[in-house]
Amino acid sequence: MTTNLHFEMVRGLVGFMVLLLLLSICEAASFYQPISDSHRSAALELFSPDHGSFNSLEETYEALRTFDILGIEKKPNVITAACHLISNAVGSSSSTTKDLFYALKANSIVKCKINDKAFQDILTRLNTAVNDASSLLDFYYSIGGLVLIKLSSCFYFPPYVLIHCLAMLNQSSNADVHLTNADEIFHSVKAFSQSDGRWRYSSKNPESSAFAAGIAFETLAGVVSLASSELDQSLVSTLNNDISKLFDSIEKYDDGALYFDDKLVDGHDHQGPLATTSSVVRGLNAFAAVSDGSHNLPGNKTLGLANFFLGIGVPGDAKDLFNQIDSLACLESNRQGFPLAFLMGSIPLIFSLPFTVISLTKKNSLQVKVNTVLGSNAPPLTVKLVGAFTSGSKDASLVESQELVFDAGTGLHNLNNLPKSIDVGSYTFVFEILLHEPEHEKVYVTGGQKKVPIFVSGLIKIENAEIVILDSDLGSIETQKKLDLAGQSDVSLSANHLQKLRVSFKLTTPCGLAFMPHQALLKLRHESKVEHIFVVGNSGEQFEIVLNFLGLVEKFFYLSGRYDIELTVGDVVMENSLLRAIGHIELDLPEPPEKAPRPPPQPADPYSRYVPKAEITHIFRAPEKRPQKELSLAFMGLTFLPLLGFLFGLLRLGVNLKNFPTNAMPATFAILFHVGIGAVLLLYVFFWLKLDLFQTLKLVGLLGVFLVFVGHRILSYLAATSAKLKSA
């Protein structure tokens, strides 16, 4: 395997610039990292076959092609599975031209054994397909298939496929694949082109796209290479026109990345900008291989396209990864002077820095790497540091221009010792690439001077830190405490509203200059979580803040009590940025007047908001107190004592029943009358025991009538008897 691609292990490549400038805040000189190991691991992750084989021939080809370009060793089982898929597609008469196309493409990489008869069958099928083709995709697949079979057109491929082509030559006896009616086919494909450089998929479909343009270029390149006789050059030159028109519609990001995008609103087969740009690059690459290179693109276009592909970073989708890698391979494909080499303008060289944060304490050296897009070595060149400027200022360069030392072992250009004039801070370094050999300047495009933001960080010395309470009117020092900002300090102070608080410290850079951090904040936090933040300003070399509490009482919402003091000092280039709780101050502020502003509400703690509520149990009414049962029974016994006394008294009086009527009739009524009274009394007992009022009243009514009747009879009898006695 003659891989021209020597991959260097690129160490420490962390973080590609995000693809879009809108996501990036660095307006200056964004630069991209070339393809690296993270692409390789992403490729292995994304192209992971299910149960050893890929879902489709297209995916198989994409996986194999990506692995091939990235130099990833293909696992034997992947190859076996791919060969199985390929031979199935090639052997089957039901496979479509698309399947055949991708089968042949995949086969050009894995070199499976396909017998001659199958090749003959495919050839006839593809030839008929070319003649029957009506849409762009029909042409694309069938002509693409024929091109793949045609072995003499191996130069059409990037060089490392050449070997496979030669291998295929041995397999197939039929080497003279050619189109007799090439002009005719060229015209019928050309008929899909539109005036704006875009193409249509078929004559029925009015929508045109740049994606289709890429496919068309690839198809036409195939037609040219398959033509049995020389094609009319005017045809090819009209195509050059189309290409330049297409490039008029190229779109641009602010950082110079160029891409194609189809603005189809609801096209169901709308491709993203990556797929579209990739298709165009593939088409141009193929077309450039068969034309005489009269249309070459300016180098900055190539660089812009390369920036676009690299700017994507590591795509998260297998198709996107294939498109990115394949297009970059196309952009790089004329390396090492391939015969028909002058393919697409020039080869972009990618300039990158493994580190842009340089620590003065660690004495890192400034390193620069120059690669091709796929990460292989650049031709001999020198990187020159032209100037270094403090960010944002337009001053003269801080350094004299000097060349970086090339280390062949690591492939890095080093600037071992930073110039003495470079202190901590953020700078813009300007580099220039000088190619050693003049003829390389025609082949490679470097993109002029490179501006790179560089951060030089170091340890900042903190001195003379102190916290002081001052008396307001006199300015005399009430309390003074030294602070150790490097370690822990816990001061406790107290002040009233007539006093002042002063915090001061001094910062110096390693070179002994005064240092001004971006963040120097003093924070006072009251017990009730109300915070007050002050920017610590600098007066000369000293950082100092004076808080006059008299002017701040309103701002402090008249809240007396304990305030925690926190000091934050930090900067981009300060390696020992710090956040220190210095201590606390007890403030005694006056009582708030009526219309004093209220402190703002503080957000509630989310955890305490959702705690379960306390349980509630109902308190039942307590039952009334009752005497003991024995006591009640004893009193019930007492109530019968008067009855006993009454009975005893009657016996003592000597009562008798001599007046009881002796006649049968009155005696019967007398008995009935007393039985009636007894029944009423018994009814009372039953009323107590079980009966309710309604039942009782009913029975009382009946008994009442009976009693009135018998009572009247006996009482009138008794009255008559006693009247007789009196009168007698």
Partner: protein, 437 residues
């Protein structure tokens, strides 16, 4: 006949709003998501995130934010169940979408994910304000942290923050701990203290501040320390869920894949916590976690099974309810020890924590208070990250009937005894009076 036709059409239109409900317990698996982008390249650069959503069964539809044909609803029926706004710089949406349309969308119980960044437009900021978060008003401000930044050899401006100050909630972030810090680069926001529906999920460290990294700081930054929220969530009262973050790049493949080392720490994590964090939180936003439903709310007297029409004071009763949580595929039993039921009339008379059988059945028993009136069984369940449950069932409570009181009270026996002895005396006296000579 014509009249009938008109009525039937009218009734269909009246029912339509109920047909297209957002997350419905009946068909929770049907989720269509509209993703609005600034640039179609985001589809590829953020594909890991999108693919993780697709693999969980969401039907993503990508549109450019200024596409003139986008619409959230058609003929009064919503076309999507959730909206993802990955279009920080959009000044005006295309089609019929505007601020009010988005708010209506949320008001209908649908979910929303907003990612802003330093190019955030006024429109996106307004959507944020409506959701209870205020992005830093300074358009050039970013969150900077000189202590908690992510170590990077190529990016030295300390706006790439490695944060690990996460909310402590398994339901929002999943039960697996997020080990690696989360990478963030973008703008900070603060929460409206008056809004208690919005929660800070990822906050900045105490040393962070929000300022323009390129210009000198002359006035105190409006947002500092852990008051800066990097990622916030909202759960509306109708259970619509919203995720708001000031960083679009935290969703990107680059951040998902990149390793992370927090400044000042020795450990270098192979992969940032972004993928785990954002995947887990998207499960929450899309109701794959923390969405509760209740079924079989029952109550009856102890020892019986039928639900009575009313209770008598001092009855012993049993109350039970089944609670299930949606797991993205099925309704699983919900297990917690803090579900409470109230027996409520103007104020709770009884409030009791229910016990459960670990299969979703929560039950308790208690005695009806000795106060009669119209009571309610109330379950008002609110827990961090869960949808709130609010059940109430009305039940009257009556006092004792006249014959339900105690009949023979020993303390009253002396009175009975006196009455009966009186009656016996009367009976005897009636003989003595009438017949004695």
């Amino acid at each position: 006949m014509g009249k009938l036709w008109v009525i039937s059409i009218a009734s269909i239109f009246m029912l339509l709003p109920f047909l297209g409900n957002a997350f419905s317990p009946e068909s929770p698996t049907d989720r269509r998501v509209l993703v609005l982008l600034d640039d179609s390249a985001i589809k590829s650069s953020h594909s890991i995130y999108f693919n993780s959503l697709k693999s969980r069964g969401f039907d993503l539809e990508f549109k450019l934010a200024d596409d003139p044909k986008i619409a959230l609803q058609r003929y009064g029926q919503y076309l999507y169940d959730a909206l993802i706004l990955f279009c920080p710089s959009v000044e005006r949406f295309g089609g019929s979408i505007d601020l009010a349309a988005i708010l209506d969308f949320v008001d209908s119980g649908r979910d929303l994910i907003i990612a802003a960044d330093s190019s955030a437009s006024d429109l996106i900021r307004e959507v944020g304000i409506e959701c209870g978060v205020d992005f830093d008003e300074d358009p050039s401000a970013m969150v900077i942290d000189h202590i908690g930044y992510a170590v990077s050899e190529t990016e030295g401006d300390h706006t790439l923050i490695a944060s690990d100050d996460l909310i402590k909630s398994d339901v929002i972030l999943g039960s697996k701990r997020i080990e690696a810090p989360i990478l963030f680069r973008g703008i900070g926001h603060s929460l409206n203290p008056a809004n208690n529906l919005v929660l800070k999920v990822l906050s900045a460290s105490p040393s962070a501040y929000s300022a323009n990294p390129k210009s000198k700081l002359s006035t105190p930054p409006s947002l500092t320390g852990s008051a800066i929220s990097l990622v916030s969530i909202v759960q509306a009262r109708n259970n619509a869920r919203i995720l708001i973050t000031g960083s679009l790049s935290m969703f990107s493949n680059k951040f998902f894949r990149s390793g992370v080392q927090k400044a000042g720490e020795k450990t270098k994590h192979e992969k940032s916590g972004n993928e785990q964090f954002l995947t887990e939180i998207s499960k929450w936003v899309f109701h794959e976690r923390g969405h509760l439903k209740t079924v079989n709310v029952k109550h009856h007297k102890v020892g019986e099974t039928d639900e009575p029409a009313l209770y008598r004071i001092n009855d012993e009763l049993e109350y039970s309810v089944e609670i299930y949580e949606w797991s993205g595929k099925s309704w699983d039993p919900y297990v917690a020890n803090d579900v409470q039921v109230q027996f409520y009339m103007m104020s709770p008379y009884v409030l009791k924590t229910m016990s459960h059988n670990k299969k979703g059945l929560y039950s308790t028993s208690f005695k009806v208070p000795d106060v009669y009136g119209v009571f309610q069984f109330k379950v008002e369940y609110q827990k961090l990250g869960y949808t709130s449950l609010s059940l109430s069932k009305q039940i009257p409570v009556r006092p004792y009937r006249h014959n339900e009181y105690e009949r023979f009270i020993p303390a009253a026996y002396p009175y009975y005894g006196a009455a009966f002895s009186m009656m016996a005396g009367f009976f005897v006296f009636s003989f003595v009076h009438l017949y004695s000579k």
